[in-house]
């Protein structure tokens, strides 16, 4: 039985992943912004076989609550083995261009809040000399594009932060896993027309669980995004800047 803390537990990817953990009989501590929805999820995961499920409210921009939330999880499960960071938003790029206030808030939600949470979680795991950090970044963080570079730059910052953290925590035996999903069919992307490249949250959940079991470092989900992003990263900037991506 693993003890798992999930931040952003109401995200579709987090829910799908939590179901898999529950079916394996793990203990869960769910963190999100809506208590009544959390209650629904708690009941569900208990029936699905989780050893225990507790929850707590948190707005990730409330930095003062990050450490207490981690402590509550540690207290509820008598320790944490895995921390999954799945919170985030999909900012409206145009709104971010029109208003720095919007851009700043979105950047905080998608990057700074994770840096704060990961600081507390990393210190806890480092001291324990054990643990697994899994954070959901995005293929969008691999290269800046005009259509969503605020989101991309936040996820890019998260990806680099995780890379450094992995390097730091390696000697302490703590795994840091960066998940980079491509297009995922969730309420966050409800406005998009879905094509062949779109994956279901259950598929991403499978990738996450496998990555944990295999202690992977950076994982594109599904795998074919690694090839797509390789190609995209190879396009010279002089050409890339002319494309409408």
């Amino acid at each position: 039985m693993k003890k798992i803390l999930i931040i952003g537990a109401l995200s579709a990817i987090a829910q799908a992943t939590a179901r898999q953990f529950a079916e394996s009989g793990d203990a869960l501590f769910l963190v999100a912004r809506d208590q009544s929805k959390l209650n629904v999820l708690v009941e569900d995961l208990r029936v699905r076989g989780a050893a225990s499920v507790e929850s707590a409210l948190l707005d990730v921009l409330d930095y003062d609550q990050h450490q207490p939330t981690l402590e509550a999880a540690i207290a509820a499960m008598e320790g944490v083995d895995i921390a999954l960071l799945a919170h985030g938003t999909l900012p409206h790029q145009k709104a971010c261009e029109d208003s720095f206030e919007v851009a700043k808030k979105e950047f905080e939600v998608n990057a700074i809040s994770s840096i704060s949470l990961l600081t507390h979680i990393a210190n806890y795991f480092e001291q324990k000399k054990a643990g697994t950090i899994v954070a959901i970044s995005s293929v969008a963080g691999d290269r800046g594009r005009q259509s969503n570079y605020l989101y991309g730059s936040a996820k890019g910052a998260l990806t680099l932060f995780l890379q450094g953290l992995r390097n730091r925590l390696y000697k302490s035996g703590v795994a840091v896993i960066t998940i980079k999903p491509g297009f995922v069919d969730t309420p966050m992307t409800a406005e998009f027309t879905k094509g062949a490249l779109w994956a279901k949250p259950e598929k991403i959940a499978e990738c996450i669980v496998q990555s944990i079991n295999k202690k992977r470092d950076v994982v594109y989900a599904p795998w074919f995004w690694q090839i797509i992003m390789l190609v995209i990263k190879l396009v010279p900037e002089t050409i890339f800047k002319r494309l409408s991506l």
Partner: protein, 438 residues
């Protein structure tokens, strides 16, 4: 390009409709106040015809209502949201020694769909329909009201909603009574029979001794062999050596749409011959996992694609006992003469346990179910000729399987449809309902 999931299993008719997700049961319905179109709850699209379609209107996709609520492992009472699939329920209950009191021939239907069509299974002769084991549910109406419905509370709405084809409101969650098992295995016996008379004898005898009975008929057999087939009967194994958590093998996908229906005369004959002779002796006895026993077709994901993009019809009727033998013989004769047989022909005797729904399909007698690739006019004419037989024998057609029955036949066969009127939600509609109440 992925095909829209908002179509029926028979992929006929094809309609254009708008779909919205409904993800949290405490939320109001996701409908714009200005939206004057009708709506219809949609589960997993496993009904065959048009009861799950609402062309020109809105579908409320309830598959996202996929949360369990509670499971009393002592009493075998399960409560979950309406978008949960029976397969997900089985995954959770079987390892704890429980099983669905009634299950249809696929586990990929939602709880809501199973109630709305008041589905039945191979144990109808003992257990009745799915609705017989339903304890209660919450019904969300388009005016925002939420009603707890059970046999004691809002009883009329309870009976109107069971088999009510989704037209009385959105079922947000439901609670069912499960039945205890001690093994995931079924003691199965397969018996070859060479004509319809033998079927009726076998059914009569087996319904007394076996929880589950069903027969597979070779529709291409003619003359003396008309109605030959395999009789399958089973009981839950009593042994305790097999772990309840034992899994069956995973399904294979049927990945493509063939350019034409793979089910035609020659392939069918081959299939049916192989199927019939798979059975070497007259009788075989095995212990099999519940999955292949109840859900043989689930082993091929999207098997409906085998019929090509034009889709297919399923014809399922029930004929009262007194006229069953003659009418079933006549129907098989007509199909055999037309040479337009089906991949699957399933025959079973329903029992006399009353169905709780106003519009429930099952009633005492013989029920026959067959698929027909959509061959246009020719197929429709054949199905109409089967209607003649069903009508003359005072039988009825199963709405969940239907895409074409006439309004006259529906009103004749389901006289209770007028009693449903006070309980219908006036914002709800379906292609089926438009058609049969026209």
């Amino acid at each position: 390009m992925a095909e829209s999931r908002y179509q029926s299993w028979g992929r006929y008719p094809k309609v254009t409709q708008h779909a919205v997700d409904y993800l949290w049961r405490a939320d109001p319905l996701p409908l714009a106040a200005t939206d004057n179109s009708t709506f219809l709850p949609f589960g997993n699209g496993r009904s065959y015809g048009d009861v799950c379609l609402n062309g020109g209107g809105t579908l409320i996709d309830c598959r996202g209502l996929n949360k369990f609520i509670s499971f009393d492992t002592t009493l075998g009472i399960l409560r979950c949201e309406s978008g949960v699939l029976l397969s997900e329920i089985l995954q959770i209950i079987v390892p704890k020694g429980w099983f669905l009191a009634v299950t249809p021939g696929t586990q990929f239907v939602t709880m809501g769909g199973a109630i709305a069509n008041d589905v039945h299974g191979k144990n109808h002769h003992r257990a009745g329909t799915f609705g017989c084991h339903l304890r209660c549910f919450e019904l969300l109406r388009s005016d925002g009201s939420r009603l707890l419905c059970s046999a004691d509370e809002n009883a009329e709405l309870f009976h109107a909603t069971i088999g009510g084809l989704g037209l009385t409101g959105i079922i947000t969650w439901a609670e069912i009574q499960l039945k205890a098992i001690s093994s995931p295995l079924i003691e199965q016996e397969v018996i070859r029979f060479s004509n319809l008379d033998q079927f009726f004898l076998l059914a009569k005898e087996s319904d007394l001794t076996h929880e589950y009975t069903v027969a597979w008929i070779d529709c291409l057999a003619k003359g003396k062999k008309l109605g030959k087939g395999l009789f399958v009967r089973g009981n839950h194994a009593e042994e305790r050596d097999t772990p309840l958590s034992k899994k069956a093998s995973r399904p294979l996908p049927f990945p493509i749409d063939p350019p034409f229906a793979l089910v035609n005369g020659p392939t069918l004959k081959l299939f049916n011959t192989l199927y019939y002779h798979k059975q070497c002796g007259e009788r075989s006895h095995d212990s099999v996992h519940y999955e292949p026993f109840f859900y043989p077709l689930d082993a091929i994901e999207n098997w409906n694609r085998i019929y090509g993009s034009k889709g297919f019809f399923q014809y399922q009727c029930v004929i009262p006992p007194e006229s069953a033998a003659a009418a079933i013989r006549e129907i098989l004769q007509r199909i055999s003469n037309a040479g337009a047989g089906s991949f699957l022909a399933v025959l079973k005797m329903f029992g006399d346990r009353p169905s709780p729904g106003l519009l429930s399909f099952p009633s005492p007698g013989a029920t026959l179910a067959l698929d027909f690739p959509n061959g246009g006019e020719k197929t429709l004419r054949l199905l109409e000729s089967l209607d003649e037989v069903t009508r003359a024998a005072n039988g009825k057609i199963y709405p969940a399987k239907d895409a074409r029955m006439s309004a006259e036949d529906f009103k004749q066969q389901y006289p209770n449809w007028v009693k449903l009127a006070p309980y219908l939600d006036n914002k709800l509609s379906s292609n089926f309902w438009q058609r049969v109440t026209a």
